[in-house]
Symmetry: C2
Subunit: 280 residues, 2 copies
């Protein structure tokens, strides 16, 4: 992924999953306008936990979104991935040098990467060949203070833009909900193994019919030095994320599972039903 | 992931992303009823390309779905991942031994894994600690013939149930749209690198306002022996998929990028702006 020519301002595309009207994207845009040309293209409504959804069955709309009487960006009737793809392929006169998604309300670490709409906007940027960053603040509350997280964004964007990133890799950044003086430091960290311990709360509607509402809390597993642990300890974390999804050890093991055969006849002996050794 | 006790029927949970009323899930359920106890819990509407979305801002509904006057399963007002999670955590009296998602209309290979709702149902099963399979037929048409793909499902389900799978790994199966006599064979194969070459078709509504519709075609990249190539050549492919998303080579490289520091002050020298060597 090439770096931009230094002679013109850095072109930065901002998106998110909390919606174009969220405080986090406003803080991000305000912080980045001082270091480059900013375009904001983001969902017109809150889109958390949408994963890497792309709208194919419906058309998309893009409406100019104003703030304080000035144009702030484009509001898209779709997901974070839709917003980035539509921006790059249709709305912007030229592709951005870098994509940054956020600032999300709430951390995106460990298993949450799979569900995260914030990360999926950066994933789409990466798939389009553009260096991309997701950034999240570890605070779900409505009055979250994005000041320091916005500083981190303005610090890392020109660095990643200058370096570039390997093809297919994005950067996932998490910032603790602490004042600058209490931040312990910045760490490059792998994805952790924490998960959500959740269940459905069953309620009945006024007609007596049940409905189910997901409720859960994060179980902090680590190991030490992983994103989730370090965020909790007060560190900003930077995690490179890829999408090479083949599990190589299992692939090797499965070649010995007698599953492969020639021709379409499944009644042959192909595919032992015996349990056998399993990769770690 | 433990194998079931052999003394009772295999408990199979079926879901999909095409919706509970689709021909593919019907063919799958019909084929698997002969080898175990089948529960069907699937979205009540088509949910393609939803990625790994989970509904958190709204409650879910589950309605019994009938076919030919008999109960076929539960229709859920959510995504594939919602359906599997709600089934396992709420609707079923005990967890299934195995989850299978499909049979999808259209292949799910290469980069499409990131967007696939079919795969995301299996991912949710895997996250819940249950051996899980996604299965897709390489045919988007409404009159697709699921006969052979259903046979493949009935062949692989007891084998994976007997073997179990490593923690965090699911199996992604793709079946060519060919009669059994023309199938070239079965192969364990890594995820390929094909991608979608797409753009937005711009149209105007009756009021003259633009809307954008995504349009694209798959670009077959390979390399040889990868899922997308082999499917096109007429092979059934079996791909083990994981979600360890840390890019280890970039993680190692980034430790040398001078990004790490102690304390929250970003004005120090942390984070060189120089371009440098990049991992492959």
């Amino acid at each position: 992924m090439p770096s931009p020519a230094p002679s013109r301002p850095l072109r930065i595309l901002i998106s998110n999953d909390d919606g174009i009207d969220s405080p986090g994207i406003r803080a991000l845009a305000d912080a980045l306008r001082s270091i480059g040309h900013v375009d904001v293209v983001a969902p017109n409504t809150q889109q958390s936990a949408v994963g890497h959804a792309l709208t194919v069955a419906l058309p998309l709309r893009a409406t100019e979104f104003e703030r304080n009487g000035e144009s702030f960006g484009w509001a898209v009737s779709g997901t974070p991935a839709d917003s980035v793809k539509l921006a790059v392929k249709q709305l912007l006169p030229e592709p951005p040098d870098i994509v940054i998604s956020g600032i999300n309300h709430g951390r995106n670490a460990a298993v949450s990467l799979i569900y995260s709409g914030t990360v999926s906007a950066a994933t789409e940027g990466t798939l389009l060949g553009i260096p991309s960053i997701a950034i999240s603040l570890d605070d779900f509350s409505n009055d979250a203070d994005f000041t320091y997280a916005a500083k981190v964004a303005a610090w890392i964007v020109p660095r990643i833009a200058a370096r570039g990133l390997p093809r297919g890799v994005l950067i996932n950044v998490n910032v603790p909900a602490l004042p600058e003086s209490e931040i312990r430091g910045i760490r490059v960290a792998p994805q952790g193994e924490s998960y959500w311990d959740d269940h459905y709360e069953v309620r009945n509607d006024p007609m007596g019919r049940p409905y189910y509402w997901l409720k859960g809390h994060n179980v902090l597993l680590g190991p030490d030095g992983c994103d989730d642990k370090l965020i909790t300890e007060g560190y900003v974390t930077i995690t490179p994320v890829h999408y090479k999804l083949t599990d190589e050890p299992t692939l090797e093991a499965m070649r010995g599972w007698d599953l492969e055969s020639d021709g379409g006849d499944l009644s042959s002996t192909a595919g032992s039903m015996q349990a056998g050794p399993m990769p770690e």
